[in-house]
């Protein structure tokens, strides 16, 4: 037990001065609060119950999709197929429901898609050690292409949203139930990441893959797990989106692509100073959804919102690199 504790403290950036470190670590949350407050003052509809409900709904679905992506990026690998897998699962569910299958069968079909693409990525990247970026670009393009092919290039409208729709409509007080479920899910993920050996291995793999392999950590098994998990959570998000949008949208992936990476990298600044982590991702997802929603209330165009997304991603990457170079410099001296 002490062994584990020691390792944990070694991983904690004890090097940052307490005040500056605290500000960097929690500053992101202050920023979120400030931005949301500004929107609430400028456009009171921003905090109307209906709008909050809508934002929580989209944030929950996005947070599910980006959960495994956070850990994949934390290990220094990449997955750029997640949004296309979600789009394919979404279209598979929609077409199955449209052809008369029940929502249960359709959802299982969607999950099957996620599992298949997760296993494909895992096999090629984790087991065969092929370059992650090119493989996931290709598998993502495959999924996107199949998603378009299912609907012959157009969307599929759904008449009923089945039990998934009913689940999305459930509320706890004013909160949608799915938001509560996502919060619990992220709490469990945070525990796994911070308190279990699994989490320590993730960050160690990013530092020095060869050393971790030498130390006997089942690196391949962890990567397989992460890619399969990424496929599954993307598929779940796709299934939820089918009910939420009551349609299958073959091209829904493109809007989640930048958001996913931005959420992970921007969130990496919160709490762990440059290391992608699940709570940071959750906060960044809420920030992004709020920013884009508030922006559209203020009348931002698509172009402006796209530019905000791109800039935030750049800022996120820049901050992560800056924070890391600071930490490594201080560790050297």
């Amino acid at each position: 037990m002490t062994d584990l504790m020691d390792r944990k403290y070694a991983l904690r950036p004890t090097v940052t001065s307490r005040l500056g470190g605290g500000f960097a670590r929690y500053g992101f949350f202050l920023l979120i609060a400030a931005v949301f407050l500004a929107f609430a003052v400028l456009r009171p509809t921003f905090v109307a119950p209906g709008n909050i409900h809508g934002m929580l709904m989209s944030a929950s679905i996005a947070a599910i999709m980006f959960m495994a992506l956070t850990w994949i990026i934390a290990t220094g690998e990449i997955d750029v197929s997640f949004m296309s897998v979600a789009a394919l699962a979404n279209m598979v569910v929609a077409s199955l429901v449209q052809s008369g299958a029940g929502w249960l069968v359709a959802s299982l079909g969607g999950l099957g898609v996620g599992l298949a693409f997760g296993l494909l990525n895992a096999g090629l990247v984790a087991i065969m050690n092929l370059p992650a970026l090119v493989i996931t670009i290709a598998s993502g393009a495959l999924a996107a292409s199949l998603a378009a092919a299912i609907g012959l290039g157009t969307s599929i409208a759904l008449v009923n949203t089945g039990f998934v729709g009913a689940f999305l409509d459930l509320r706890v007080g004013i909160l949608p139930l799915v938001a509560v479920v996502v919060a619990l899910l992220y709490a469990v993920a945070w525990f796994a990441q911070e308190r279990l050996a699994f989490g320590h291995y993730l960050y160690a793999m990013e530092q020095n893959r060869a050393a971790v392999v030498e130390a006997g950590v089942p690196v391949t098994r962890i990567l397989v797990l992460l890619y399969v998990l990424s496929g599954m959570v993307s598929a779940i998000a796709g299934i939820l989106l089918a009910a939420n949008l009551s349609s299958g949208q073959p091209y829904l992936g493109s809007s989640y692509f930048l958001d996913g990476l931005t959420a992970v990298l921007l969130g990496g600044m919160a709490l762990k100073l440059g290391k992608p982590n699940v709570l940071g991702t959750l906060a960044a997802v809420i920030f992004l959804v709020g920013l884009l929603n508030g922006g559209s209330l203020l009348g931002w165009t698509d172009s402006q919102r796209q530019i905000v997304r791109g800039s935030l991603l750049l800022v996120g990457v820049g901050l992560v690199v800056l924070a890391r170079s600071r930490i490594s410099k201080r560790q050297l001296h």
């Binding site: 090629l124 996107a144 378009a148 930048l258 990476l261 919102r305 530019i307 750049l314």
Partner: protein, 323 residues
């Protein structure tokens, strides 16, 4: 070494002949003059984008911004033509976009040391955002007929389709730069080991910036041809460049052992032959990315060095060929 190269060329010719035969049996039109010309035009667009990407892959980096940059370039070109700017200025405007984003990508990655994948995704996202500015996202095609842009696609040069002539010229320049000049060695050295290259006097950062600039400019050149052939500029024009370019570079590298200009051209040719053939068989457009990505995944995994070394142990003939 020479026998290995000959074996690789023979393998490439065999694959090419097999593809041609399969499609020719399905539809004899495949090898008609008209279709071969269409194939050459198609290959020109994808080949140019892949050519620039080759340099980025050679220095062991990635560029995911070129589809977005190409879209911005297409809209800039379209807007300049629609507002009546001279044709030359419009083309220059389109290419300057690639130059500017190439420089930004290169500096951010090489000098500031940001991770290439995510950074270029971000700059590509920015470029996509900027491309909406000109017309709020609607496609532009005013004045296209009068400007002479369409001649770029339809005209001939020395008996070749004009797009193909442009690709041939660009390939020649790229070949000289990468394989017949000292800069070429510098690109490869930067990719192999940047520290060693630095101490050998290679300006590593300049080489990386140059690679990103080449990638941006050729992507804009390729979108120029695409806009000329479709007759309209729109904000999603660049998206169709991503998969074929990566597939061409990696397919070529898998066939010929490492990324190079001839390898990329070979990869592009195989890819275009397949896509053209499937179009001829009336396979809908949305399957094209599925085909390209399946071929790419197969090529990367089948030509994996560990797999081929395993084969070499099984087949003694292969081992002697290498020796």
């Amino acid at each position: 070494m020479r026998t290995v190269l000959l074996a690789r060329i023979a393998a490439f010719a065999l694959v090419m002949a097999a593809i041609a035969l399969v499609f020719w049996i399905q539809n004899p039109v495949y090898l008609s003059t008209g279709n071969v010309r269409a194939l050459m035009r198609h290959m020109s667009v994808n080949g140019l984008a892949a050519l620039g990407l080759t340099f980025v892959i050679v220095v062991r980096h990635f560029d995911l911004s070129f589809p977005g940059v190409a879209s911005l370039s297409a809209m800039t070109l379209g807007w300049l033509i629609a507002t009546g700017a001279p044709f030359g200025a419009a083309i220059a405007g389109g290419l300057v976009v690639g130059l500017a984003f190439g420089i930004v990508n290169g500096i951010v990655v090489a000098r500031l040391g940001l991770p290439d994948i995510v950074t270029t995704i971000a700059t590509g996202g920015l470029a996509t955002g900027f491309s909406y500015f000109y017309s709020n996202g609607t496609s532009i095609s005013q004045n296209f007929f009068m400007s002479g842009l369409l001649d770029l696609n339809d005209g001939r040069f020395l008996g070749l389709e004009r797009p193909f002539a442009i690709l041939a010229l660009a390939s020649l320049l790229a070949f000289v730069l990468l394989h017949r000049s000292r800069f070429g060695q510098a690109f490869y050295a930067t990719g192999e080991n940047p520290v060693a290259a630095r101490f050998s006097g290679v300006p590593v950062r300049a080489m990386i910036i140059a690679a990103f600039v080449l990638c941006g400019v050729t992507a804009c050149l390729s979108i120029l041809l695409l806009v000329a052939s479709s007759g309209a500029a729109n904000v999603t024009a660049g998206n169709q460049l991503l998969m074929p370019a990566f597939a061409a570079v990696y397919l070529g590298a898998a066939l010929f052992g490492r990324p190079s200009v001839p390898a990329t051209l070979a990869g592009t040719l195989l890819m275009s032959m397949m896509l053209n053939g499937f179009t001829l068989l009336a396979i809908p457009y949305f399957y094209s990315d599925a085909i390209v990505s399946t071929v790419l995944i197969l090529a990367i995994s089948l030509f994996d060095p560990r797999l081929s070394s395993a084969l070499r142990i099984l087949l003694p003939a292969g081992r002697s060929a290498k020796a």
